[in-house]
Structures are given as structure tokens and as C-alpha cells.
Point group: C2
Chain length 338, copies 2
């Protein structure tokens, strides 16, 4: 079962992927922060059994992972692939994960809420992702009674998630808008209409390699469908801006030069830090989308972005690697793949 992120999706030149996340809690239990380890394990088993025993789920394709069975590197490799949150990797005791083999569906148990269901799909595929999330939500709903209030909707630990409990976000690649300094303005504009534009790994994180997350901010007093439609429409406008900037005559030659140089370094360097890699692969991705680099597949770029992080390298190596060794192995891995 090949990983979801290798596949190309609609509008993949700018939209890298969609993520839908639903926060749910089980009625009659305190939020995870107030649970002891034994109670957390009880929640884990409850959800696991509900999902695994359902006839509508293709359960052969799911793995159930008790997080404290993983090494730190294995857990962080999942963070790098956006399967779990950094906090979920850091504090693993009493937490569990249900993971579809292609990694497009993950269910974090006892993260901030009892259940954090996440669906990721390539490109601008908001409806597909939402339908998948909705389907699994329905399955959970049959077996588990969720904490729900007629007025407030789904109850969540953090009030910013009350209501739909849904966060929909799109990972956008905005190198041209970044190059002409238009991202800050864009960020201000979308925040006025209920959306947020932020860095690669969510709240408070830096945008690495010109990768930005655009997501809905409002969860209360709006339907899931309306939130998705709103996000989709704004995303289309942002994509249009990015595409225009990429075609701008003044930027074009500078971008082409950047693309080719980045390709030259990635293809030849013997030592590559994670940070430099992200900057370079960002430029190469742009080059592939603009048909400057015709011999490289977008799938290869997507795969590299997901798998060239420090934790993924260490997991493949099966050991902890010194920074220099890591940088050497990263460079080797990339030369091989390109």
C-alpha cells in the first residue's frame, strides 16, 4: 500500500495536501489531561474495539500502535510525516494511535482530546478528505457516545474547537508570493475572514521551504460543509495569486536560476542539513510545477519532503545518528532519489 503523499492530487502545483481533523470526546469521561494512565488505556481500547470491529472499516489495513512501544525517533518520524502532533510524540505514555497503512487516516487517542481523527489527501481534495473523515466519524458515532451539547455542538478541551470540532487545512506551496514579499499581507487578509495562514508544522511554527498551512479558524455557529466551502473558495484565490506571481516576467528569470541551483546542489551535495534541504526541495518543487525541471516527478519530490527528516533517516538507519552522519545520509538518500 503506497503512501498517500506520493500520489499527485488536483491543483498540486500549489496545493500540496489537505488535512481534515475532527476532535471528539467520549461522554462520561474527563478530558485526557485529567485521566490517569489506566483510564487512558481504557479509552484507547474502547475506540480501538469500536473501529476494528466495524464491518464498514477495512480493518486489515489499520495498525493499532501503543505509543510507548515506539522509540523517540520512530515517533518523531511520524511527526515529520504529519501523522501525529509533536506533543503526541514527546509524551507517549497512555497514548495510542490507529493508523491506516497508506497513512492518510490516523486517529490519535488521548492527545488533547480523547479522539483526534485526521485525514490527509494530496492536492486540493477537500471534499474527498471531508467525506472520508465524515464516514469514520459516523462509524465512531454508532459505537461511542460523544460529548455533545445541543447549543455548543461537540465538546472539546480547548474552547477554540467547540462546535464542529473540525479543523480543515491546506498545505500550500507559496515560493513566488514569498519571494515578492506578499505573504504577510496575505496572512493579515485571510485572518479577517476567519482563516489562518501559518507555518509548516502548525501554530507558532516557521514556514520551511515556503510551505504554508491555510486553515479555518471558526468552529462555532457554522456547519462543517460551510467551513469547507469557505476555505476552498479562499484557497482558490490564493492559488491564483501564487500562479500569477510565478508567471511574472520580473520574477521568472530569478526563479528559474533559483530552481536550477537548488537542483544542482541537491544532486551533488555530500552534506545536507534538514533546514537547507527544505529550502532547496521547495525550489525544486516549484521547478517541477513550472515545467523547468521536466525529468523529475512531483511524486519524487513529495516523497522526499515526507521522508528526508532527521527522525525518518534515523528510523530507516535503525539507530541514532550524529548530526554530521545524518547530514551525510540525507545527502546520499536525496542523490539516489533524484
Amino acid at each position: 500500500m503506497s503512501k498517500w503523499y506520493i500520489n499527485a492530487g488536483p491543483d498540486n502545483d500549489v496545493a500540496i495536501s489537505v488535512r481534515i481533523r475532527l476532535a471528539r470526546n467520549i461522554a462520561g469521561f474527563p478530558f485526557p489531561i485529567r485521566l490517569d494512565i489506566a483510564q487512558k488505556r481504557r479509552i484507547n481500547e474502547l475506540v480501538r474495539d469500536a473501529v476494528i470491529n466495524d464491518k464498514d472499516m477495512n480493518t486489515d489495513n489499520y495498525r493499532y500502535i501503543e505509543m510507548d512501544q515506539l522509540t523517540t525517533a520512530e515517533a518523531y518520524a511520524m511527526v515529520e510525516r504529519h501523522i501525529i502532533s509533536p506533543d503526541f510524540a514527546e509524551n507517549r505514555e497512555g497514548r495510542a494511535l490507529l493508523l491506516l497503512n497508506d497513512e492518510s487516516v490516523s486517529i490519535m487517542l488521548n492527545e488533547e482530546d480523547h479522539i483526534r481523527l485526521q485525514v490527509m489527501t494530496p492536492g486540493l481534495s477537500l471534499h474527498e478528505a471531508y467525506e472520508m473523515a465524515d464516514k469514520i466519524d459516523g462509524i465512531l458515532d454508532k459505537k461511542i457516545q460523544c460529548a455533545f451539547d445541543e447549543k455548543l455542538g461537540y465538546l472539546t478541551q480547548c474552547p477554540t474547537n467547540l462546535g464542529t470540532g473540525m479543523r480543515a487545512s491546506i498545505m500550500l506551496h507559496l515560493p513566488a508570493l514569498e519571494a515578492c514579499g506578499a505573504v504577510n499581507q496575505l496572512s493579515t487578509t485571510v485572518s479577517k475572514i476567519g482563516l489562518t495562514l501559518r507555518g509548516t508544522f502548525g501554530e507558532g511554527s516557521q514556514a520551511k521551504g515556503a510551505m504554508y498551512q491555510l486553515s479555518n479558524q471558526v468552529t462555532l455557529g457554522i456547519s462543517e460543509q460551510a467551513a469547507i466551502e469557505n476555505l476552498k473558495s479562499i484557497t482558490e484565490q490564493v492559488m491564483e495569486k501564487e500562479r500569477n506571481a510565478r508567471q511574472s516576467f520580473l520574477l521568472r528569470e530569478v526563479l528559474e536560476d533559483k530552481v536550477w541551483r537548488a537542483y544542482g546542489v541537491l544532486k551533488n551535495a555530500r552534506l545536507l542539513s534538514g533546514e537547507e534541504f527544505m529550502d532547496l526541495i521547495s525550489a525544486v518543487r516549484l521547478g517541477v510545477c513550472l515545467s523547468i525541471l521536466n525529468h523529475i516527478k512531483l511524486e519524487t519530490v513529495n516523497e522526499l519532503i515526507a521522508t528526508a527528516g532527521a527522525a525518518n533517516l534515523q528510523t530507516r538507519a535503525g539507530e541514532t545518528l550524529e548530526p554530521t552522519v545524518r547530514d551525510r545520509q540525507r545527502a546520499e538518500y536525496i542523490r539516489e532519489k533524484l
Copy 2:
């Protein structure tokens, strides 16, 4: 007749080329600074006739160039190829040049002295260069009475050239010594034994691409042969240091990475400034010498160093080029040659 700088020479991994320069003045004339244009032209013709009419000179291979017939770009293209001095290119009226077609011999007329004879040969070929310079000096001596003093030797405008009038220098490529910060110390050491280590284009110039000129400082009270032997022996010690540094375990991986990246950028960039080019080609040259880049010939690197300067690009293009256009044409030229 292919240019001298394309050929490989002895110890070419570190020693790029040798230059021997003899300063001579004609008895009975003031130094050029005190001559008017008509007198300068008289000197030019005197030397031209002496050289061109000599049976020992293969005069078919020499061009006689009146400098004011050249465009600024053509003159500076010669500076970039080290045929003439920057001042000789800048102030061209009344000055002339005798130039062997392979560009290994040039005779500047009415530079600082009446005659500045220069011989360049590839690698550490001090004796070959000196023999050639000595042979032409002998031919001049037959026809022209040089200003000479029994006690002071050859008389020159600048007292630092009195005596032999000879400056012998070796262009050395010292990327490893530069990388480990050893060049300053080396410069101090050689200055104590009568030598100077300086930048690419002589006195006061910066070392571009780790190219340094090592030359004799003393011209008075020493024979030409003794000066050459002294320079040769010190050069061999410097080359040894550079070679050891290149093999140093700690530096090796960093150097390899630098070499490959430089190659990757040169092979792919679409815009390249002259300064960046020198840094990158310096690393590529090192890579060729260390057998890291086995598919590139040292001759190609030597040719690029001599011919990728702004003035050479403009001369080939036959027009003045805007900086961006120049950077684009430089990048194209280099991709083609590599």
C-alpha cells in the same frame, strides 16, 4: 595556436602558472612618465622593429597592437587573461603591445618602464619561463642599448625593481590552506625571506577563488638565477603544505561537499556573477586535482578561469552587456563548457 593557459603543466594540482617579468628601459630616454605621446610612439617603433626584424624570433606568431586601437572591453579582456596590467588597459594612448599568439609572451611598451617583457607558462615551470624571457631579453639587448648601471644593474622607474628588473611569480591555488585559515601566517613567514604572497591580480588585490601570487621581492644584489632558485624552493614547501591540508581527514569531507556543490551550481545556474564564478571554479579546480571530479579536465577549468570574465564575455559578444545579461551569458557559457 592554442593558448598557453589551456595546457597542463608540472605540479598543476597546486601551481597554476608561472610568470616572469623583466623591466627594461632604453638608454638616453626619460622614463615613460616623462615622455609625450610622440616620444612614446618612437619607443614603441624602436622596440617593435628590433623584435620583428630579428632572425631568432618567430615573428609571424607575434602581433603588434597599438593600445589606443582597442576598445576598453578588449583591453580589459587582456587584463583578465593577465596579459597586461590594469593601468595599461586604462590609459592606452601612446602605448603598444607585442603579443605572441599563444599569449605566453607579451611585451608592454611604455607601461611603467619602456619595456615590460612578460612570459607565462603553465604549472611550476620556472626554468622554462625564465629561459624564454632570457632569450628575448638577449635579442632586445643586441639591438637596443638598455639603461644599465655597473653597481645598480638595470635602471627602472621604481627603485624596487632596480638590479635584475625581474619579478618572478607563481600563481598558486590554496583552497585547503585558506579553508583552515593558514594563509595569513604563511604570508607573514614568506615575507621574512624576501618573498610576497598576494591576491590574484597583484599588489593590493584580493585573492579570488583562493588564487594567490607568490613572488620574489628582492631584485638588488642577487642574480636572476638565485632569485628563481629561492622562489622555487619556497614554492615547493608551500605546495607540500597545501597538499597535506587537502588530505587532512577533518577537512576532507567538508572539501568534498564544497567541491560537489560548486560543481552542481556551475552546471545548473542561470545567472552567475564573476565573483561567485571564481569561488565556484576554485572549488571545482580543487575537485579535479583531488580526483573527486574525474570527468572534468583541468584544461577546461583553466580555460574557463581565463575566459569567463566580464570583459572576455563582452569581447566575444561584440558588445557592451548589461550586468544581468552578462551574468546570464556567463552561466550559459559555463554550462556549455562543463
